[in-house]
């Protein structure tokens, strides 16, 4: 068969097509000519005439090129050979990506490690950002949300940000006197027990609101009308409900207007439904009902404000604080308020709720931690890519020889890291979905969350912002881990790289860079591991430094609301129940109290000792039965316990060590008197004789030192203590059914509403701390693992690179141990450099964490020391295999390549 291709290619030459396209056209046309030639031969033509006739198909020398020109110029823009300089960007990029895919398929092990590393880094970031987004970044669907502020009062020393609870007088003073707000809005976030026709009794979020609430927020009715000034003035028993309440309870029936419901035992008439997208003042809590605040018996109000345009935050705070001061300075104001200070916080993203208070700080700290983790993952991958890039220098040199320029090689290498990080992101989003679910389960176990209809679902809301964040992270990651390898690849000098027998070439600078990447990984791991140690220590400190024994303690909450028992009956029955409980095998003692430790905020008051009536000390109060301290294992330091004799005598109290010190100094408090003022419920004064002093025990907040506490006698005070505590000798859950039986037989119409082990009650109060400890331990372990991989990768590669040198050493008589020392010394150098960088960063990180989380045990340097030891162990583990390989280098084999 004649050779047609030279003829065809000559005619195609002026078009300057890409080699691939050119050869494709030539192949197709040559086939056509073959077919024509065979046909002519079959028709009886001679070979020569058939050849000429077939060639005649190509017509003039330039016709093919002319006809093809317009088509091909549109279709294919120039050469796109791998690595060759191209003017056609898109075709080249696609090719780079295809090539990157091929490279990934070729080394599945490397790809799996890289994708998993990035997926963990990106997934952790996406998970935490998803929650931050849901919690803090969503703005409320109201008019001009950015100008909304929440007005709080803060009691000095209170770890909470403050509470929005103003008396009617304070509200009026601020409403009439302020020059900084365009609106002062009464609007709260409370839980209501709602029932009524067609509505099952249940807890929902709602709000007590003022006359301008809906108008100022720009909310319109979906049906009926909204609460306005006339309802507030007349204290009308009316309610407005949310669209979702209307849909779920009334199936969007227009008859809802005029329906009666019961809210917190008050009958109310529904007058309208708020517009569909309005869910209230918090992103985590769908508010379903709004009622006039004037319906409350002693109205205290929660306040929001709308800043005037030109007013700054600080100006507004100063103005409102001055007005609040004029209110508290009045003689009739409760002195408790005098120490309060006014605080403003932005409310455009929703008002402060238990969820935001509990989670916002942990999420910020975690965001920083996962940021470090991602950086670590990037350094790790950059190291791996760099090492692999060095072994591909030959390939890069060939590309340069074929005409690739630096930019093209750069892009080509970046395409690989981009692809890796995109796949890592996809897997990361998948992981994040489960991570968020697990985190939400942890949050829901928190004390503040139980029984409250918090909408955690908003925390898993995957919106455009989250996706944008993940894409941005992926791009950043690909740049961070791809740039150095790409720069290194694009610096290839073909002359040296192509020489046969050349060792995998690297400049000194590149080697140093690779080592510093590993040192950076060690540094970051040190920070993560030491933080993990810090949080684990903190958690253990919180769990164990309680002042009572938390193990083997069962707590039972009883509901006396419908029992009709009086104090005398209660005294008798509770003693009988305690006697029966103590008879249960495995139970060592039992007791009643008004509150159990860590159950939630209890009563508090101000105490003054008889010697210094002018000096008041804030104290926590609990009322307890005999055997309380024995059951909780809190030590008696002096005096005696309550007993049945106290019922008839004068008022007595037991105080803890802090209260004794704060009220009586060094004097013996036993037999002295202490007076409580402004007790939360009675507001009266009560004087007690101190009969005992006990050790300090945590009361409500594990993160705070045990408060000065005064224990009154349940029987003397006439309270029905609803908290039953049972100390067992073994696992507390083993006696729960026997406890239920005994309770039911003695207190016949008192239901058990809750049964929980003290350990769980303690854990429910420290959700953020558990979160820190769990996650930071995970991140620390992950960080250490990544450091092992990074260090191992570099050392293994170094040993391969130095095979020849090691071979020479062994040939000259070096011992195995000496060779091993070379590799281990290399590893330890990198680890030490990492430690030198990481230790100051870890110290600094601890200080930042301590500024966010009070009570963190930052003075203890042990976590950093332990973390450093772990890093050295990491270095030795990573060096083990490469060192063994180096010891077994065969000098003959190593030198053969010389």
């Amino acid at each position: 068969m004649p050779e047609w291709k030279p003829e065809i290619l000559r005619r195609l030459a002026p078009l300057n097509l890409s080699p691939a396209r050119e050869s494709e056209i030539a192949e197709e046309i040559a086939q056509h000519l073959d077919d024509r030639y065979e046909e002519l031969l079959a028709d009886g033509h001679s070979a020569d005439s058939a050849f000429r006739a077939a060639l005649d198909e190509l017509k003039d020398e330039d016709l093919l090129a002319r006809n093809l020109q317009s088509v091909e110029n549109d279709l294919y823009r120039g050469p796109v050979a791998p690595g060759k300089v191209g003017s056609k960007l898109f075709a080249g990029i696609l090719q780079d990506i295809r090539y990157a895919f091929r490279m990934m398929r070729k080394s599945p092990g490397f790809t799996a490690v890289a994708v998993l590393t990035l997926a963990l880094g990106i997934g952790a970031n996406t998970a935490i950002f998803t929650m931050m987004n849901g919690l803090m970044l969503h703005t409320l669907p109201v008019r001009d949300p950015k100008s909304l502020i929440q007005i709080l009062v803060h009691y000095p020393g209170d770890p909470e940000p403050g509470f929005s609870d103003f008396s009617w007088d304070a509200y009026q003073t601020m409403r009439d006197g302020n020059r900084v707000l365009s609106d002062l809005i009464v609007g709260s976030l409370n839980v209501y027990d709602v029932s009524g026709h067609g509505v099952e009794s249940q807890n929902v979020f709602g709000g007590n609101i003022g006359d301008n609430f809906f108008e100022s927020l720009g909310v319109r009715p979906a049906i009926g009308r909204l609460i306005g000034p006339q309802d507030i003035a007349a204290s009308s028993p009316v309610a407005v409900v949310s669209w979702s309440f209307w849909k779920t309870r009334f199936n969007l029936s227009p008859d809802i207007v005029g329906q009666k419901i019961i809210s917190n035992d008050k009958p109310l008439t529904i007058i309208g439904v708020a517009q569909r997208d309005f869910y209230g003042l918090s992103n985590q809590a769908q508010q379903d009902i709004w009622v006039p605040y004037s319906l409350e018996d002693h109205p205290s109000v929660a306040l929001l404000g709308r800043l005037k345009r030109s007013v700054s935050f600080e100006q507004a705070r100063a103005d409102l604080a001055a007005l609040y001061q004029t209110f508290v300075d009045r003689p009739e104001t409760n002195p408790f308020f005098r120490r309060n200070e006014v605080r403003l916080i932005p409310a455009g993203n929703g008002i402060s709720t238990p969820v935001t208070q509990m989670l916002s700080t942990p999420l910020k700290v975690l965001m920083a931690t996962v940021g470090l983790l991602l950086l670590l993952a990037c350094a790790n991958l950059a190291g791996l890519l760099l090492a692999r890039g060095a072994s591909r220098q030959h390939e890069m040199a060939v590309r340069v020889c074929l005409g690739a320029n630096r930019a093209r090689l750069l892009r080509h290498t970046l395409a690989e890291s981009l692809l890796l990080s995109l796949i890592g992101s996809a897997v990361g989003i998948f992981l994040a979905y489960f991570a968020v679910g697990a985190l939400i389960r942890l949050f829901s176990s928190g004390r503040l969350m139980v029984g409250v209809p918090v909408h955690f679902d908003v925390l898993r809301h995957l919106d455009a912002r989250v996706l944008l964040f993940t894409v941005a992270i992926a791009l950043l990651t690909s740049l961070l881990c791809g740039t150095a390898p790409a720069m290194s690849a694009s610096n290839t000098t073909p002359a040296s790289a192509l020489q046969s027998g050349t060792k995998i070439g690297e400049t000194k600078r590149q080697r140093l860079f690779g080592k510093s990447l590993v040192a950076a990984q060690v540094a970051l791991s040190l920070v993560l591991v030491s933080m993990a140690g810090l949080f684990v220590e903190y958690l253990s400190h919180l769990r164990n430094d309680l002042g009572f024994e938390r193990n083997n303690l069962l707590l039972v909450t009883l509901d006396f609301a419908h029992s009709d028992y009086n104090a005398a009956q209660y005294a008798h029955l509770s003693q009988e129940l305690a006697r029966q409980l103590n008879a249960i095998p495995g139970v060592s003692s039992s007791t009643f109290s008004e509150m159990s430790p860590m159950e939630g905020p209890g009563a508090s008051s101000f105490a003054s000792a008889e010697d210094h009536p002018e000096k008041t000390t804030p104290v926590s109060i609990n009322n307890i039965a005999p055997d309380y301290f024995q059951t909780y294992s809190t030590p008696f330091l002096a005096g005696r316990d309550f007993s049945a004799r106290d019922e008839a005598g004068s008022r007595v109290a037991i105080i803890n060590e802090s209260a004794a010190r704060d009220c009586f100094g060094s004097k013996n408090p036993i037999g002295r008197h202490i007076t409580l003022s402004h007790i939360t419920e009675t507001k009266g004064e009560k004087t007690f004789e101190v009969i005992g002093v006990v050790g300090d025990a945590k009361y409500n907040d594990l993160g705070q030192p045990a408060p000065p506490t005064i224990y009154g006698s349940l029987i003397q005070e006439g309270f029905l203590g609803s908290q039953l505590a049972i100390r067992t000798r073994t696992d507390a859950s083993g006696v729960s059914s026997a406890v239920r039986e005994a309770e039911a037989s003695v207190l016949k119409n008192v239901p058990v509403v809750r049964m929980i082990e003290m350990n769980d009650q303690v854990d429910a109060t420290i959700v953020p701390q558990r979160l820190f400890a769990t996650l930071s331990t995970g991140f620390g372990a992950l960080g250490a693992l990544l450091a092992v991989i990074g260090l191992y990768g570099l050392l293994a590669y170094t040993v391969v690179r130095r095979t020849h040198e090691i071979g020479v050493r062994i040939a000259l008589g070096a011992e195995g141990a000496e060779v091993m020392r070379i590799v281990v010394r290399d590893a330890l150098w990198m680890v030490c450099a990492g430690l030198a960088i990481g230790a100051p960063v870890a110290f600094w990180g601890k200080r930042i964490a301590a500024s966010l989380i009070p009570d963190l045990p930052v003075a203890n340097q042990l976590p950093i020391v332990i973390a450093a030891a772990i890093m050295i162990a990491v270095g030795l583990i990573a060096a083990y295999l490469p060192a063994r390989r180096a010891m077994h280098v065969d000098p003959m084999v190593a030198l053969r390549y010389e």
Binding site: I25, Q31, H32, E57, D60, N67, V71, L75
Partner: protein, 115 residues
Amino acid sequence: MDQTASQVEWKKGSAELLILSLVEARPRHGYEISKLIEQRSGGTVRFHVASLYPLLYRLEHRGWLVGRWVEKDGQRRRRYYRLTRQGRRVLASQLRGWREFVVGINRITEAEENA
């Protein structure tokens, strides 16, 4: 066979239509297309290589045809052209236009002949 000037003009106008209609029933390769055109026109219409392939690439570029290399047992690989959905629409519209045009021409010429 030499082509007259008028044949060249008609061919230019109808080339796309011819190719599209030939690949309507099933995919065909370039040589097959050129042979079919020659055979069915009784040798009056012929496309040589320098025109046929640029035209096929143009139709492919417009998205009316798709070319695929197909390897069959015992044969060299060949590039087969298949009509796309868009090509099918274009073919239908061109056929309609062509038929209307022929009817129009016939009416005019028959009227002249009968006059």
